[in-house]
Amino acid sequence: MSIILDKVNYVYSEETAYRIQALKDVSLTIEDGQFIGIIGHTGSGKSTLIQHLNGLMKATSGTIYFHGQDIYDEDFDLRELRNRVGLVFQYPEHQLFETTIFDDVCFGPKNQGLTKDEAGLRAFEALRNVGMPEELYYQSPFDLSGGQKRRVAIAGVLAMKPEVLILDEPTAGLDPAGRDEILDLVARMHKERGITVILVSHSMEDVAKYVERIIVMNQGSVMLDGNPKEVFRHYLELEAVGLAAPQVTYLMHELKSKGLMVDTDATTVAEARASLLEALTGIDAGKADFHR
């Protein structure tokens, strides 16, 4: 089962002078259990796209199927869709509002109609999953650091047990360690629970390291769609639309153009290291890392 988008179009301010077509004929299939990265410059349609996936925005034309059902059908339960497709917005910590961390995380599951006890159990599990120390559960979320607040906000969505987790730039403004914590957490949820994860990001290095499929948006259309190696092969086209490939990919291309036989498909530090060691010393020292 999956989410299928069939020729989805979305137009802002139709019939005014400010008409902008934010999505143009977007057709995509999002398979269950995939870890997908969406990249694109500001205004390319990324955020508009993800808000269609849980029915927050309604396509001007085209259809979206969730597990084979048309979500725009009159008898389709959009509430149920939003329970199953969880969306973490940019700066989700701005949406914290309860007096304690625990209550804040309980809010989602309670809203789904779970009893207080059930919601509490969900909250415990979610807070444990995001690595929040227990002694903080009954403190105000507003006393936490930025990275911790964000983890609480993500726990609030995880407590609803979504099948699909969508995160819109979850690491913006975090320090490198905070960034790694959030992304490792998401990767673990993906691995352990098998949930589908869709990550919107401006960091090519992060995308290359974590996801298995990259969708590149440009001017409302899908420009490229493939695994990181396939997508970053088009690094010149990516640059033309305001994006970039990871630093190491450029390095490999430069070396190859100077006559050194290296793997220009390398997108992570580990892959680049393996390829360089092989090219320079002839030893396969990094093969194990290569597949990590």
Partner: protein, 287 residues
């Protein structure tokens, strides 16, 4: 004395309960010494909560020292009569461009600051034009800021600060919300202001790639300055940086791993060009 000098600067955030009793004290700056020379390009690194932004807000007199002193261009920031001159000497640019733009036309937004301090009209327009030129946004002067990209908005915000003709500009994570192109635009603009106009730049950032061209890097942790030096000196200490919850540029990590695998590559490689050079030398291919 340099343009910014801190001596044993301490700042404590004190929380009080309803009766005014002290509930908790958090030391955000812990005896910081700092000496920044006019014309320097300084980068400040540190994890969330390390005290970077608290320090930045002192330079702009938005916060007052709890203990110790801070001088901006020789003015003691804790003296009330110095607050306005200090703010005119050190301008500030924040993370979110949308929070810093107030007017509906770019040129009016840039002119707001000078107008506010009573600059004569002719001079305001002159300053607006010069500032927009300096950030490369002159051709957008009649546009609405709403229609600009994140990087362009941030450059308009910088122009608004430049129009106040500050000697020093503090940029507090100016690129955190921008895409790769926007980030490049903003960092390039900061370097140009530094080189062409001699403006002292203090750049606070989480992106390690953005600091490799700075004159000096300062690393903060738990409110203290824990490392200081050139980018090369700082980034040659990969292990120490990790302890402070920081990163190094991807190229630097790769160079470090290759060095550990026995290749003849020095510590603290910062740019792609450098690493390419070393690898080609090892492979004995003439560059």
């Amino acid at each position: 004395m340099g343009i910014i000098k801190a001596k044993q600067l301490v700042h404590e955030y004190i929380r009080r309960d309803e009766e005014g009793n002290v509930e908790s004290i958090q030391t955000a700056l812990d005896h910081v010494d700092l000496d920044v020379q006019q014309g320097d390009f300084i980068a400040i690194l540190g994890h969330n909560g390390s005290g970077k932004s608290t320090l930045a807000k002192h330079i702009n007199a938005l916060l007052m020292p709890t203990e110790g002193s801070l001088w901006v261009d020789g003015m003691d920031v804790s003296k009330e009569e110095n607050i306005l001159p200090v703010r005119q000497t050190a301008g500030m640019v924040f993370q979110n461009p949308d929070n810093q733009i107030i007017a509906s036309v770019v040129e009016e937004d840039v002119g707001f600051g000078p107008e506010n301090i009573g600059v004569p009209t002719d001079e305001i327009w002159q300053r607006v034009e010069e500032s927009l030129k300096a950030v490369g946004m002159l051709k957008y002067r009649h546009h609405s800021p709403n229609k600009l990209s994140g990087g362009q908005k941030q450059r308009v915000a910088i122009a608004g600060v430049v129009a106040m003709q500050p000697k020093c500009i503090v940029l507090d994570e100016p690129t955190a919300m921008l895409d790769p192109n926007g980030r490049k635009e903003v960092i390039r603009t900061a370097h140009e202001l530094n080189k062409k106009k001699g403006v002292t730049i203090i750049l606070i950032t989480h992106y390690m790639e953005e600091v490799v061209d700075a004159d000096k890097v300062i690393v903060m942790d738990e409110g203290k300055v824990v490392m200081q030096g050139s980018p090369r000196e700082i980034f040659s200490q990969v292990g120490t940086l990790k302890e402070y919850r920081l990163d190094v540029p991807q190229v630097t990590i790769l160079a470090d791993l290759l060095r550990q695998s026995g290749l003849d590559i020095p510590l603290g490689v910062l740019t792609r060009e450098e690493l390419t050079g070393h690898i080609l030398r090892i492979a004995q291919i003439g560059a």
